[in-house]
Symmetry: C2
Subunit: 346 residues, 2 copies
């Protein structure tokens, strides 16, 4: 039996309404009574019961961010951006992972906390019927990150994956001079991977480059997995004059490592491009040519949209599209270009 407002009222010899007024900064409280109440609060270490408060106010000032996983630089940045923005808007952010042992009900379960929240931003990276279903019946304001759900209108904030991936691919077939490109993606059901793969195919087609089904791999976005894959193929890729487009920086880093260990020079023997421009991109030797995805901004914008909707549930649906940006470093043949720019050594 923790202390309640009644205890404070008794101790301060006032009614609970007065205590409530003091707490909620309602100015119309006499200086002296206010002082009495405040001292009683301190003395009892009283904290208003948030359940009761939420029951009356119908809000908790807490918003949620549900991500497929909390692991890795990519999500960390989103969280950071969202957290900052949420605080600025007067909300506290809690984050939760949708992942679970079995993942069929995972999103469902993760979201079951919703009821204590004023709203949720959900990042959808695997499109399943279940998610559409859950969201369609979702009783709370929500925005969707990085994915479009059919069936119900909702605010959303997406990255223009296609655009970024096309820019990267054109860089590979153009300046970097690739003649055959290996695509190393995440799961085939992952929305980002799908978009990047489409761009890959589009540019291959428009450049008249070969499209072999066997040049496309679906991994899990992890460094280790890509490293292991690359260890087996890297020599063959190099001697076939390939170039690798990895769907995130971690996998690209794994591939670069495998190549180096096989005695290959990146980019001379094998060019490797990443995606996202997370910190790893600057940690490989050579640093990665990649596509910068504005992760923190995505998180921040999501909060912006969410809080707007909480404030005004009737506000028309909004969609924000963020533009990624090609970042040319050295893993795809800047060296080649530089050589071309300079007079050859005598």
């Amino acid at each position: 039996m923790p202390t309640s407002i009644v205890d404070v009222a008794k101790l301060a010899k006032v009614s609970i309404s007065t205590v409530s007024r003091v707490i909620n900064r309602s100015d119309l409280v006499n200086q002296r009574t206010r002082a009495r109440v405040e001292s009683a609060i301190k003395q009892l270490n009283y904290q208003p019961n948030a359940f009761a408060r939420g029951l009356m106010l119908r809000r908790s000032d807490i918003v949620g961010l549900v991500l497929p996983d909390l692991h890795g630089e990519f999500y960390s940045e989103i969280i950071r951006g969202a957290n900052l923005k949420a605080r600025h808007l007067g909300y506290n952010l809690v984050v939760s992972s949708a992942r679970d042992g079995d993942d069929s009900h995972s999103l469902l379960r993760a979201i079951q906390q919703r009821a204590l929240l004023d709203g949720v931003a959900v990042m959808v990276s695997e499109l399943t019927d279940r998610i559409a279903e859950v969201l369609a019946a979702f009783p709370l304001p929500y925005v969707v990150l990085d994915g479009e759900i059919d069936g119900t209108p909702h605010d959303s904030i997406v990255i223009d994956q296609r655009h970024g991936a096309v820019a990267l691919m054109r860089h590979l077939v153009g300046p970097a001079g690739a003649k055959r490109i290996i695509f190393v993606g995440g799961l085939a059901t992952n929305v980002d991977t799908i978009a990047r793969l489409e761009a890959y195919r589009q540019v291959l087609a428009e450049s008249g480059l070969p499209q072999e089904a066997s040049d496309v791999y679906h991994l899990d976005y992890e460094y280790e997995t890509a490293y292991r894959l690359a260890r087996e193929h890297v020599r063959a890729w190099a001697s076939a004059g390939c170039c690798v487009f990895a769907a995130n920086d971690e996998m690209a880093a794994g591939i670069v490592a495998a190549a180096s260990e096989a005695g290959l020079n990146v980019p001379r023997d094998l060019a490797v491009a990443g995606f996202d421009d997370t910190r790893v991109a600057r940690m490989t030797r050579p640093p990665l040519t990649t596509v910068r995805v504005p992760m923190a901004k995505m998180g921040a914008q999501a909060m912006e949209l969410l809080c707007q909707r909480i404030a005004d549930p009737q506000r028309p649906r909004m969609q924000i599209s963020l533009q990624p940006e090609l970042v040319v470093r050295e893993s795809c043949g800047t060296a080649l270009r530089r050589a071309a720019d300079q007079p050859a050594p005598a």
Copy 2:
């Protein structure tokens, strides 16, 4: 006005208590009425109001994890471990960062969500009076990660930093043959850095190695910062026969990169050790000799302890100490040892 239990009761033509019974799986409900109620629930897409529910039940089945920051591999692993364990124990986990623009009240503020939670695990990495104060008056079950707070007894789970750091330092002065060691730590107020620095000094003393105040740097645990620092000092360090003990892997990676770029060979010209054994440790060339900190386990154990305490607030205080483990890779002279093991080439 979202749908409440009354709406369901009306639609199903029963009383609210029956609805409540159905929801709470109280067996004593007739098959047919139960079916009626369930269909009404579905039809209305009814979700019990969590505030009202929490008010009665005095619990939310949600526990919190408050970390200094959510950024980086280290915290990600803790979260992952905690999340999994919490779910197994029937709780949902929400995580929150204590960081803020100004950080004086940040922990306070972050924790203000507490009231909706059944308990909190707090990671304390900067010891300030304020934290001790807040925690002393904390009205909820809590456990402390990786730090000991005076004043109030509490469950805690700590890493035996000292032990791990001593093991690493002995490796450096022993097999790796260091004669002078540079320490690159996090903030001087960070508890981990403090412990690691103590170990550094202890081993230096017991080995009769020089202790120069100028050999100790306090950075911020970030790759970039360490990289920049190293770029300026790395040649001097190398020619002085130094070896670097970085207080985390990210900084070690930054130093390795700076060394490589300066044309130095790691470990031959400069040995560099990290700490934590995060994924970066295997992503540098050469891979880092480091100390494995059981991060996921720390998160999991924290949840274990927390949930035990929630279940039994009277249970005696418990402290768990996790042992880190030296991981010898190649950044500190395995190569040297290997050379010594083999006959010199004719």
